[in-house]
């Protein structure tokens, strides 16, 4: 009798599993049909279709990505700062080397965006049209994405405090990544970021990169650091040096835990000849310096390490680096008559990224610089009032530097930014403010300043373009048409 019941249970279980699989497949094909329809519809309307189709797909079939056959090799890029730059570098090098790369460089890096990127390059049955994928993945989406997709390689640039609203704190992001990343993934981690270097202990195939060149002589600790004590024993961390935030080399005074040895190290940066040198396995490779901001040296070194682990020769990567550029929407320098305008994307709500930009401007050798800040969040200021906490994690004291003659805060949060700057010790006499984001361009004093730095949020690209246009018009003496 018991045996009969057991047999019946087994049959029922098999039936249920089969039914579940069948239902899952039906859901998947429904999702694929709806998403493809949305994709082609949006493309017809001239849109990129980089988010909505995928969002529709995962809404109908939450494990949609799981049903897709993945490209032979999947490279993922994550971390707080530098994801897009690193993804673009990887895409450019791999494309230059003849690979046909599936990527999400034009679109969203969250769950729906990843699904969109994959489905746009898949057949209706879910087979991939390309053999290689480079996907930028938002850290917070990791749980949803890696549940159904095992990256062959994952590079994590760094883990720092980011948007208070979305990312909370670094322990939360570390928790997500440690839970989500599959153990078989080969990880490329920033050795000079102790939080990043300690991530995903389940992944045993680990490569560390970092920058030894131009290490600061002192270990002056900045106010904002995201790790202060040893997570193993609670002892104090002793730094050999700190570049910014917690980026540097440190060791626990009590138990010895600390920064790992690097496998790929930038040993020299030659700013005169625009090159940097990466050492690994005893070999030095001199590459073109795509951008001299130290954060981009880290990004380039990480990309080099990943491409090397992927199997490209140093020579091949070196040749590809010769042609690389950082995309213009992120960094562009324009010379108009005797005025230089540097347009630099400074991700709003992200205090470390913004502070790096401010430090970059302050360290520029030119005198009488003008800083024009259009960092306010666009969406959060439409029938809303942006959370301004992040301004207080930004280091505005860079604007107190005497080489900066003028600071302009343009946008709905200009009054908050003004107060923040005063608290940081910036001379009120050199600050101007305006509530209209685009009006900032009208306030620049070209008699005083010939070096203009415009920092803009990634959702303010349109405003940045308009500001640049106005600046150029004013330099050329044209009248600026009032809105």
């Amino acid at each position: 009798m018991t045996a009969v019941i057991s047999q019946r249970s087994e049959v029922a279980a098999v039936f249920l599993i089969k039914r579940k699989i069948k239902m899952g497949k039906i859901r998947f094909f429904t999702a694929m049909a709806a998403a493809k329809l949305a994709y082609f519809g949006l493309r017809l309307l001239g849109r990129n279709a980089t988010y909505l189709p995928g969002e529709i797909a995962v809404h109908i079939c939450p494990d949609f990505i799981g049903y897709l056959t993945k490209p032979e090799t999947v490279i993922c890029v994550t971390g707080t700062n530098g994801k897009t730059t690193t993804s673009n570098l990887l895409n450019s090098v791999l494309t230059a080397c003849g690979y046909d790369v599936l990527n999400n460089s034009l679109g969203s890096n969250v769950h729906g965006g990843i699904a969109s990127a994959l489905l746009s390059q898949s057949t209706f049955s879910g087979k991939p049209k390309k053999k290689l994928a480079v996907l930028e993945v938002d850290e917070r989406s990791s749980l949803l994405v890696y549940k159904h997709l095992t990256p062959d390689f994952l590079i994590v640039n760094n883990i720092m405090r980011d948007s208070v609203k979305r990312n909370a704190h670094t322990e939360f992001i570390s928790y997500i990544l440690n839970t989500a990343v599959p153990a078989e993934t080969k990880v490329i981690l920033n050795a000079d970021d102790i939080i990043c270097a300690s991530l995903v202990p389940q992944c045993k195939n680990r490569t560390y990169f970092g920058v030894d060149a131009e290490a600061p002589a002192t270990a002056e600790l900045p106010f904002v650091r995201d790790i202060v004590y040893c997570p193993v024993c609670g002892g104090g961390l002793k730094y050999d040096y700190v570049r910014f935030n917690h980026i540097g080399r440190c060791r626990c005074e009590k138990c010895g835990w600390g920064s790992p040895e690097r496998d790929f190290t930038v040993t020299a940066i030659d700013r005169e000849n625009n090159t940097f040198t990466v050492r690994h396995d005893g070999c030095d490779t001199v590459l073109r310096l795509v951008n001299d901001n130290i954060v981009n040296v880290f990004n380039c070194c990480g990309a080099f390490a990943l491409l090397s682990r992927f199997g490209l020769s140093d020579e091949t990567v070196k040749n590809a680096f010769e042609k690389l550029e950082i995309v213009k929407t992120r960094l562009e320098t324009v010379k108009e008559k005797d005025v230089n305008i540097t347009m630099l994307l400074a991700k709003g709500q992200n205090p470390v990224a913004c502070t790096r930009c401010y430090a970059y401007a302050a360290s520029d050798n030119a005198p009488n610089k003008c800083i024009l800040l259009i960092n306010d969040d666009k969406e959060d200021n439409i029938h809303n009032s942006e959370n301004t906490c992040w301004l207080y994690d930004c280091d505005f004291s860079y604007f107190a530097d005497e080489s900066i003659a003028e600071v302009i805060f343009a946008g709905p949060r200009c009054k908050d930014t003004y107060l923040r700057a005063l608290i940081a010790g910036v001379d009120p006499a050199k600050i101007k403010t305006c509530l209209d984001t685009r009006d900032g361009a009208k306030l620049v004093d070209f008699d005083k300043c010939k070096e203009i730095f415009v920092f803009y949020d990634n959702y303010r690209v349109d405003d940045a373009v308009a500001v640049k246009k106005t600046l150029i018009q004013r330099i050329n003496g044209s009248n600026v048409k009032e809105k």
Binding site: V164, K165, F223, T388, C389, D393, I423
Partner: protein, 236 residues
């Protein structure tokens, strides 16, 4: 005038650490003591006029509770004696009864000074604004970004009453807790520079007669926020 800032090296999330920076500007004659988590609190034997602590991670919160538990009766003594406490973000939970961390599947007893319990869920983040009335006549503007909510009836000892936004949880209009000069609120970030009138109230509570630093700029920004927060078109 002595201000003790507790564990600022850790309790500085959401830029909470900047409240003490601003207060230094407001009271340049005051002594500021920053006690690290490994150090002995100044309040153990000393009598600070203001004790501050800001928002922290969940693991830090557990460490802070462990650290402060032996000083529970001293803290109660200081509260009764009228010392000003300014506990922002989830620092206020440290003084409640119990905290359960549902994601991490752990829980801890807190100091138990207020009959409220916290529930922390890493996958239920709340972001919002709050317009509230403090002490009957000071309008507060502020922001919340948190994983946790408090439960219990705080209507008789609330820090402020909300006009817009939520109180200690999504159903509550009562914000935080107050006992004598103990001020606890989930509002986090630069609550002092955002609210110069509140800052001056805190200073006066502690016996300092000065005014908020950069008052004109702070009031200008405050009025602008207030106008936005009172605008029915602005989403909460």
């Amino acid at each position: 005038m002595t201000v003790e800032v507790l564990f600022r090296e850790l309790c500085n999330l959401n830029a909470d650490g900047q409240n003490s920076v601003y207060l230094r500007e407001c009271m340049p004659d005051a002594d500021f003591i920053e006690t690290p988590i490994g150090g002995e609190p100044y309040f153990k034997d000393g009598r600070p006029d203001i004790i501050m602590m800001g928002h922290m991670s969940e693991s830090t919160q557990r460490a802070v509770i462990k650290k402060l538990m032996p000083f529970k009766s001293r803290i109660e003594e200081l509260i009764d004696a009228g010392t000003v406490f300014l506990m922002t973000g989830n620092a206020c939970e440290v003084f409640c009864r119990h905290i359960s961390y549902v994601t991490e599947k752990t829980e801890t007893d807190a100091l138990g000074i207020f009959p409220l319990d916290a529930r922390c869920d890493l996958f239920d983040r709340y972001n919002g604004k709050q317009l509230s009335v403090f002490n009957g006549d000071i309008k507060l503007v502020g922001f919340k970004s948190q994983f946790s909510f408090l439960f219990g009836d705080n209507s008789q000892f609330a820090f402020a009453k909300c006009e817009r936004g939520i109180g200690i949880n999504r159903e509550s209009v009562y914000e935080g807790m107050r006992k004598n000069n103990f001020l606890g609120t989930h509002l986090s970030g630069p609550i002092l520079p955002l609210n110069p009138l509140f800052t001056e109230y805190v200073m006066h509570l502690a016996g300092h007669g000065g005014e908020a630093a950069f008052r004109e700029a702070a009031m200008d920004a405050y009025r602008h926020h207030l106008k936005e927060f009172e605008d029915p078109e602005v989403r909460f």
